[in-house]
């Protein structure tokens, strides 16, 4: 009888530890970024400058770069992740399913620097030759494709990110799909649905897993540092098209932190970048919650 009461408390302790860790990190972000807020107010979030000589910092290009590259990454990754999950769960022969799943999840362990090197030496030239240059040549009048592409740019970063984040969302969707009770599948088939229609219905059943997968993937995309830093072009200018070079907040932090302590305001500027990242994440999550309440609970 005692364990009945203790167990929930036991769980609460662990959950609180998790919450405590996140909160502590956020507090340390606030404390460490305080100096630059004190000096510049919020203006530095909307400035575009990185001049350590004059200790003048503004992270707007990095902010935009994060949003653009993550948007590219998610829009490519989600269809791929869902397809991979369904393919493994429904279409692939049973014997190789374990292998596909293992190799896919395996890629989550590959150190970021190897992704970066592969992206720099293999992916960037391929994208440049077969996708970016043709798009720019023929559709260059559309603002999205208007910059003459250099292999390392936001687009390459977005695609590389998509490749990196697919395993995370794919695994969580796949597990949820496999856990769907068989009698639901059988019921759907007995109604005369085609395979695709059954899949579509079941996907609706695991909407929350798909959303969870999307958040995991998005988070990973926004937080990736080294791999992005190696392929994003790293010019501190405001991006006007998909093929522009740019920065992301995470890659800016990765690039600058080794020597940041040699300055008075750079560390605070980097910490404030992380704080902005946290805030964006919070906003997206809250928006997602609102959307869930409206869409998911209805059906």
């Amino acid at each position: 009888m005692n364990s009945e009461k203790i167990f929930p408390i036991f769980l609460i302790v662990f959950a609180s530890i998790s919450l405590l860790i996140v909160t502590s990190i956020v507090i340390s972000l606030i404390i460490n970024s305080y100096p630059i807020f004190l000096r510049d107010g919020f203006s530095f979030i909307f400035k575009s400058v990185w001049n350590p000589v004059k200790e003048d910092y503004g992270i707007l290009p990095a902010l935009l770069g994060t949003l653009i590259s993550s948007a590219i990454a998610i829009s490519i990754a989600m269809p791929l992740a869902i397809s991979l999950a369904i393919f493994s769960a429904e279409i692939a022969p049973t014997s190789i399913r374990g292998f596909i799943n293992s190799v896919s999840d395996l890629m989550a362990s590959l150190p970021s620097v190897i992704y970066g090197l592969w992206g720099l030496y293999v992916l960037a030239p391929i994208l440049n030759q077969y996708i970016m240059t043709p798009l720019h040549q023929y559709l260059g009048f559309i603002p999205l494709f208007s910059t003459k592409p250099i292999p390392t740019n936001l687009f390459t970063a977005g695609v590389l990110l998509a490749i990196m984040i697919t395993p995370f969302s794919s695994s969580i969707i796949r597990e949820a799909y496999n856990a769907i009770p068989h009698h639901l599948k059988e019921a759907a088939y007995s109604l005369g649905m085609t395979r695709w229609e059954v899949i579509r219905t079941l996907l609706g059943y695991i909407k929350s897993a798909i959303l969870a997968g999307a958040f995991l993937a998005l988070g990973r995309a926004m937080g990736e540092t080294v791999a992005v830093a190696m392929v994003v072009g790293n010019t501190f200018t405001l991006p006007r098209s998909l093929f522009d070079m740019g920065y992301t907040i995470s890659s800016l932090i990765a690039n600058q932190f080794p020597n940041a302590e040699a300055y008075s305001y750079m560390m605070p500027a980097l910490y404030s970048g992380a704080l902005v990242l946290f805030t964006i994440g919070l906003i997206i999550n809250l928006a997602g919650l609102y959307w869930i309440r409206r869409v998911v609970t209805r059906g």
Binding site: N51, V53, M230, N234, T235, F236, Q256, P258, N259
Partner: protein, 392 residues
């Protein structure tokens, strides 16, 4: 109970699997030796006349800092480990000069490696607590690399002012009159120059921009010199930022008609074309051994002592030295120690190791490609400074 036996089974299976993988890989897969050398690790390299180190000390010291210094430091540490029969272990990690100095100040490192010498505020802080010892341990050079399909390596001539103008955005095309004037016999195309620079804060950028500041007033006032600077070419759309020397080298290789700056070792390992730079005396030079030695010798007179504050002479006083053969983009890398250590063994180890570094370590067989040894007069600065090590 069933679940526990299952877990044991998992563990056992994993162990068995790993062991079988090791055995398999040892016997079945044809293995290549790293570096394709079959020498055993117990012999001291027979070709090296480096003397065996006679010391009975034993222990570990931990240092960190400049990335540039890392490969050479690892080479030294490995050699020293061998020579002391595995008793003295020197660990070094590249976390950046700024981080190295900061962690050194916080007391978590026994020594720091840094491209620029200790900042003056940290220097003063330590002065009150017993003082520091800082000295150059190695010389490094930077090369200008380029990717012009019609121009081979070692054929392009550039001056500091022209390079500054390129990175300022004032010279945008390869066939600009200024470049043509320096290279009358080259066929320079009418193509836009893509100027590649570092995206991460680095000592290489600091030295490079110090050089540009010295030779160009416009650069000095508009941009300045630092680990990272605000590159004018970025705003014009002609700049590319590469992460690390690797990134810059890759960017230059991938983008025709580009120019960049890297540590010398990277230019040779990636096969990039290297430019001739005009030195103060008017000669066009590459960073050959003699050019670098000449540069270093010219500097000996201006260098302070190991326990003094170097922050105001570096790198501006050191870059672009005089001398007929001197290579302009030459600079030092530093090691920073405290004068006072609680642990006498640590102090003794640091003394032995860095004494070796400044003497035997400067011999040609112990210097890696891409680095250059200190002239004995410069090494003497460190040797003198080490005498200040004490326990307290």
């Amino acid at each position: 109970m069933r679940t526990y036996t299952k877990y044991m089974a998992v563990v056992a299976a994993v162990v068995v699997a790993l062991i079988s993988v090791f055995i398999l890989s040892y016997f079945w897969i044809p293995t290549e030796r790293i570096g394709s050398q079959r020498s055993t690790t117990t012999t001291i390299a027979t070709t090296s006349p480096t003397m065996r180190v006679t010391t009975t000390l034993s222990g570990v010291v931990n240092g960190a800092g400049a990335t540039f210094l890392n490969p050479q430091m690892q080479a030294w540490a490995s050699k020293f480990y061998e020579l002391t029969g595995g008793r003295i272990q020197v660990n070094y990690q590249s976390i950046g000069s700024g981080a190295g100095q900061a962690k050194f100040r916080e007391g978590v490192l026994d020594f720091a490696g840094s491209d620029p010498p200790l900042k003056s505020d940290i220097y003063n802080e330590f002065k009150a607590k017993g003082g520091i010892i800082q000295f150059p341990v190695i010389i490094g050079t930077i090369v200008i690399v380029y990717n012009i399909p019609s121009v081979e390596s070692g054929k392009l001539r550039l001056t500091g002012e022209v390079v500054a103008k390129i990175y300022l955005g004032e010279i945008s095309y390869w066939d600009d009159p200024a470049i043509k004037a320096l290279n009358p016999d080259l066929n320079l195309p009418h193509e836009k120059i893509i100027a590649v620079h570092r995206s991460d804060g680095s000592g290489t950028t600091r030295v490079f921009t110090a050089y540009l500041s010295k030779v160009s007033e416009a650069w000095k006032s508009k941009v300045g010199s630092d680990f990272t600077v605000s590159w004018p070419v970025d705003e014009l759309g002609n700049g590319v930022g590469g992460k690390g020397n690797e990134g810059v080298a890759a960017a230059v290789k991938q983008n025709p008609y580009s120019i960049g700056y890297v540590e010398t070792a990277y230019a040779y390992s990636t096969g990039l074309a290297v430019a001739l730079i005009r030195n103060r005396d008017g000669n066009y030079v590459l960073p050959a051994k003699e050019a670098v030695a000449s540069a270093a010798k010219a500097l000996v007179k201006v260098l302070p002592k190991a326990d003094e504050d170097w922050s105001n002479i570096f790198p501006d006083e050191i870059i672009d030295p005089p001398g007929k053969e001197s290579y302009p983009l030459t600079s030092f890398s530093f090691v920073i120690l405290r004068q006072v250590y609680d642990d006498p063994v640590k102090a003794a180890i640091l003394n032995e190791f860095f004494k070796w570094v400044l003497t035997e370590g400067q011999k040609p067989e112990n210097i890696l490609e891409g680095y250059d040894p200190l002239p004995p007069e410069v090494a003497a600065i460190g040797l003198d400074g080490l005498k200040l090590l004490r326990t307290g």
